[in-house]
């Protein structure tokens, strides 16, 4: 009953805040903060933090998230703060947010798992990310962002392992939901490996990505199926576009070769 009354009190602020947010009016921040203050729902806090970030910037959102974590801790807020830390490459702080979020209970939106997965991906150990993808793949309750990232990573794992049927299956699942340049690049590689050059070109047309990502993924794909000429060309173009990313791509290849 108390919860219902609090939700009722917060409702006008949340609705109005949502409408103003759609129109890009900065007053949305104050309204959503008031709604969160009244109803105490983690999802409202997330909306308020997202608008805060949009209008006042990353730093302000992070400060506010930590202030709320101290005064009214919610797992949703902890996950959001962790994701903000990740954007700044602050893995330690993000890890602490993940721990705090787990202790606070279950995050219904599934952002804690996203944080967990991204932490594994951004950590120093490439094997950790691969293992995280394998471990989390069997989970059926992840949110779409996390699940998509995992499917994409599994797609590349299968391509590197040259299990082409599995690659095709992952690519189909990704492409059935939306346009996915990574899946299209992977299918290009599969078709190249099988000698279907015309089909391969068609997949490449669907793989529109900004530089340097397009060369990064084409390098990995070509290298995985032994298309050496394309791999060399993609690496060259990648180096021209982003030397750091080219080094990472080569390091990843070296890591795979070392692992056998």
């Amino acid at each position: 009953m108390v919860r219902l009354v609090r939700n009722l009190l917060g409702l006008p602020f949340e609705v109005l805040g949502g409408l103003l947010g759609m129109l890009g009016v900065p007053a949305t921040v104050s309204l959503l903060k008031a709604a969160w203050w009244l109803n105490g729902n983690g999802s409202t806090a997330l909306k308020a933090l997202a608008q805060l970030r949009r209008h006042l910037g990353h730093e302000a959102a992070l400060l506010q998230a930590h202030a709320w974590l101290a005064s009214r801790p919610r797992p949703e807020v902890a996950a959001y703060a962790g994701l903000l830390h990740l954007e700044e490459n602050e893995l330690g702080e993000a890890g602490a947010c993940l721990e705090q979020g787990r202790q606070l209970g279950r995050d219904r939106d599934g952002n804690l798992e996203l944080l967990e997965y991204l932490l594994a991906c951004m950590g120093p150990d490439p094997a950790a990310a691969e293992q995280a993808a394998r471990d989390m793949e069997s989970r059926r309750d992840l949110n779409s962002t996390t699940r998509k990232l995992i499917l994409e990573r599994r797609l590349w794992q299968e391509l590197v392992a040259r299990r082409l049927d599995a690659v095709r299956d992952y690519a189909r699942r990704l492409l059935e939901v939306s346009v996915n340049p990574q899946a299209s690049v992977a299918l290009w590689a599969v078709c190249r490996a099988e000698g279907h050059d015309r089909q391969a070109e068609r997949h490449l047309l669907d793989a529109a990505m900004p530089e340097p990502q397009c060369w990064y993924f084409r390098y990995i794909a070509a290298e995985a199926v032994g298309a050496d000429t394309e791999a060399a060309e993609a690496l060259q173009r990648l180096r021209e576009a982003d030397r750091g990313l080219a080094d990472r791509a080569e390091a990843a290849r070296a890591f795979r070769e070392a692992r056998g």
Binding site: L11, R140, D141, R173, E176
Partner: protein, 331 residues
């Protein structure tokens, strides 16, 4: 929309929305996506599904809505097919509710089988079921429209070759406005009316409706002095509801019109078995006794009627022998 009307619609709408959203969440879970389950949506608890704003809207507008079930397509093995099935589950659940209501109506339609109090309760229950059926039919129909975020916007693009569902909901913001305008202006009402009329045609008729109809037909025949037809319709009404003094009393009047005084007396006595006779009916029976040549009983009834405050009208002094002093009038 009046508060009373909103409160009348509320139970059917809450049931319809709860089953609808639960069906989406449950089917998604069956097909491999437990995200909705994680959010507590695989439940028949209405509070898990009802949106506060959507529920309050029922009191202001002629419609309401629930929180949409978030489906993660990446959890599906066959995203397109499974999303289609998940989307179809909502309207299918509304059809299931309709079928359940029709099943229950087979009980509630025979209201007179459970005594007078039971009849009132069952009539109320039947009215509630009819409303639930109509609301669920509207929900199922409305949701098949191809306007995001309605289910039809996910169903038709999958079924029609060459179209692609708007999984990302790019146009949802604008289509919600379009939908609100359609509902607000009543532009969509012909569809609702057609649905309601089509469904109402197959709603089982209750005994009380049949009874009322027979009684009405009897009254019309009586007013035309077609006493044979009136007796026939009142008899039909009595066969449906043997506990109605009104039906016996009216048939007694019609039989009086046919000069069948024994039958009229039997009917008034049958009415008396159901409930004590009011003064008018006692006076009427006194007239019947007179016609049957039983003055002592007529005098007793007339005295009892007078004791209850009945006053013979001036017309009775000059009334022809075939007209009773109370001028029989169907009630």
């Amino acid at each position: 929309m009046t508060l009373l009307m909103a409160l009348t619609l509320l139970p059917g709408l809450v049931i319809g929305l709860t089953f609808h959203e639960m069906a989406h969440a449950w089917s998604a879970s069956l097909l491999g996506d437990d995200f909705a389950r994680r959010q507590g949506r695989v439940s028949l608890n209405p509070f898990r599904h009802l949106s506060l704003l959507g529920t309050l809207a029922i009191f202001l507008l002629p419609f309401g809505w629930a929180k949409p079930v978030v489906v993660n397509l990446y959890n599906f093995r066959h995203p397109k097919r499974d999303y289609l099935l998940t989307s179809l589950a909502g309207p299918a659940a509304n059809l299931l509710v309709i079928a359940l209501c029709f099943g229950l109506m087979q009980l509630t339609r025979h209201s007179y089988a459970f005594g007078p109090v039971g009849a009132v309760l069952l009539d109320l229950a039947h009215a509630f079921l009819v409303l639930a059926v109509l609301i669920n039919a509207i929900l199922a129909t409305l949701n098949l429209l191809p306007i995001p975020p309605l289910d039809g916007s996910k169903i038709w693009p999958v079924l029609i070759p060459g179209l692609r569902p708007d999984f990302g909901g790019k146009w949802q913001r604008y289509s919600i406005l379009l939908l609100l305008v359609l509902l607000w202006t009543g532009a969509i009402r012909p569809l609702f009316r057609y649905t309601v009329e089509a469904v109402y045609r197959i709603v089982p008729v209750t005994d009380s409706e049949r009874f009322e109809e027979s009684l009405r037909q009897g009254d019309e025949a009586y007013d035309r002095d077609d006493y044979a037809r009136a007796v026939e319709r009142y008899t039909a009404a009595i066969e449906i509801n043997r506990g109605s003094p009104e039906a016996y009393r009216n048939r007694a009047c019609a039989r009086w019109g046919q000069d069948r005084f024994e039958g009229a007396l039997a009917d008034i006595n049958a009415a008396q078995k159901v409930r004590p006779l009011p003064a008018d009916d006692l006076a009427f029976r006194a007239d019947v006794y007179d016609q049957l040549g039983r003055p002592d009983e007529a005098a007793l009834d007339r005295a009892a009627a007078r004791a209850m405050g009945w006053q013979p009208g001036p017309a009775t002094q000059t009334a022809p022998a075939t007209e009773p002093s109370t001028a029989p009038r169907v009630q």
